[in-house]
């Protein structure tokens, strides 16, 4: 089957830092865990995968289509959503935050209402629709950002340290949401420091070391086990 996203001979430079990816295939409906220490280049790689940064050299293909220019990047970004480690919520209600991307995709009306309600329920914030985004706690903001991305049903969802610093009781909510996404056709890439998260999510592990993707492996179990997600 054709990979969802392919990187070939990618080079990206920022100051003294250089990211080099000789080859990477992300297959549809999988979970990938991106591991690596601080400064390894995880956030930069996620921004490249999100088509927010153009590489200095190399080729990115989305569903076999080479990504050539900004117009194409803009069009394909409708299929890819990145949730940053410290996500920005627009200075408005939770509802309007979730509706932002849906409106751009002309998915309004009752469908929009239903999708937003479902997404908020999944992240455990069912009653938060009318709350102002700036009145939320850090953990609630992260969950709203996750819901805002999930409601778009992207083909590729990228998350940068989504659970770092979160309360232990919130962690299972995140991991259950992420584990369910491949079944809905979404490929998930999670950058994480947490080695146990790889085991709990049973995803394929990608390891970045000093800007080089040095290893890609599949753990023994390839299916998420809900019981194993309890911490």
């Amino acid at each position: 089957m054709q990979p969802l996203l392919t990187l070939s001979d990618i080079i990206f430079r920022r100051g003294d830092f250089a990211l080099r990816i000789e080859g990477l295939d992300l297959r549809a409906g999988r979970i990938y865990l991106l591991e690596g220490g601080n400064g390894a280049g995880k956030s930069t790689l996620l921004q490249l995968l999100a088509l927010l940064l153009p590489p200095a050299a190399g080729t990115i293909r989305f569903a076999g289509e080479p990504v050539a220019d900004e117009a194409q990047r803009q069009r394909l970004r409708r299929q890819i959503t990145l949730v940053e480690q410290n996500p920005y919520l627009f200075d408005t209600s939770v509802y309007r935050n979730l509706a932002f991307g849906l409106r751009l995709r002309a998915r309004g009306g009752e469908t929009q209402e239903r999708h937003i309600r479902q997404a908020l329920q999944r992240v455990g914030l069912a009653g938060f629709k009318a709350r102002h985004a700036r009145a939320l706690s850090g953990g609630e903001s992260r969950r709203v950002a996750l819901a805002r991305a999930m409601v778009l049903r992207p083909q590729l969802l990228l998350l940068d340290e989504p659970t770092a610093g979160l309360d232990r009781e919130v962690l299972p909510i995140f991991e259950e949401c992420l584990a369910a996404l491949p079944g809905q056709g979404t490929t998930v890439v999670v950058a994480s420091h947490d080695g146990d998260q790889s085991r709990r999510l049973a995803g394929e592990v990608l390891t970045l070391d000093q800007g080089r993707l040095s290893m890609a492996s599949r753990p023994a179990s390839s299916q998420p086990r809900p019981s194993a997600m309890e911490t």
Partner: protein, 228 residues
């Protein structure tokens, strides 16, 4: 001292009794300044956003130019536009000189650099995550930039309020392009300058009090916006 106290008493009396002449000047000032700031915002906000968000050769020069234009002397603006609007000038056939529209045009020239500079500052101080967030949620560059402006809307409002404060208090443009024609182009500032010189000190004082009141309201509003 009696002269001052008597004049103040007369000025307060004019305000309290809604003196027709005072109201005319206040109305002319308000409607020309409000029209000018609306037009100035329509030009200045996109210009400021372009300079603040754009990456193009000459961007730094544009910022320096905008900063310089902010300190443009009002009489120089009045002088240049007088040349353009005068009978022998290129825009003479339009017959705009000594009409409210000439006055408004001059005020727009004064307002645009202020609105644009405040917009550049608001955009530069915006959270750097706004644009990437909008882009990753599916917005194009233009929609993302619009979202950024919405996020710094209090800065935008401060830009408009600051521009309004500048145009309503200026006298050079109003004097040179308006001509202080009673019931048409006589603004608070031109009336204060010219009527006082004719001995109507109480009248000038009444307008001065109203102008100070407007300036106070504008500054209180600006202060509130800057606290957000």
């Amino acid at each position: 001292m009696d002269y001052l106290l008597n004049s103040l008493d007369a000025a307060l009396g004019m305000i309290a009794h809604l003196d027709r002449e005072v109201l005319d000047a206040v109305w002319t000032s308000l409607y020309t300044s409000l029209t000018a700031i609306v037009l100035g915002a329509l030009l200045g906000i996109p210009l400021g956003a372009l300079v603040g968000l754009g990456r193009f050769p000459g961007r730094r020069l544009s910022m320096t130019l905008l900063n310089t234009l902010m300190a443009l002397p009002t009489v120089v603006v009045g002088l240049v536009l007088f040349g353009l609007f005068s009978r022998q000038g290129p825009l003479g056939p339009l017959g705009l000189l000594f009409t409210p529209w000439a006055l408004i045009a001059g005020q727009v020239v004064l307002a645009v650099p202020i609105v644009a500079n405040y917009t550049v500052a608001a955009v530069a101080g915006a959270d750097p995550r706004i644009l990437p967030t909008a882009l990753t949620l599916g917005a194009g560059r233009l929609r993302g930039s619009w979202q950024l402006l919405l996020e710094v809307r209090f800065g935008m409002m401060a830009a408009i309020v600051a521009g309004f404060g500048r145009v309503i208090a200026e006298v050079g443009v109003a004097m040179m392009l308006g001509g202080n024609i009673r019931g048409s182009t006589r603004t608070m500032t031109t009336a204060i300058a010219l009527e006082t010189s004719k001995g109507e000190f109480a009248f000038g004082l009444a307008l001065g009090i109203v102008l100070m009141g407007v300036a106070l309201i504008v500054n209180l509003f600006l202060h509130q916006l800057q606290q957000r």
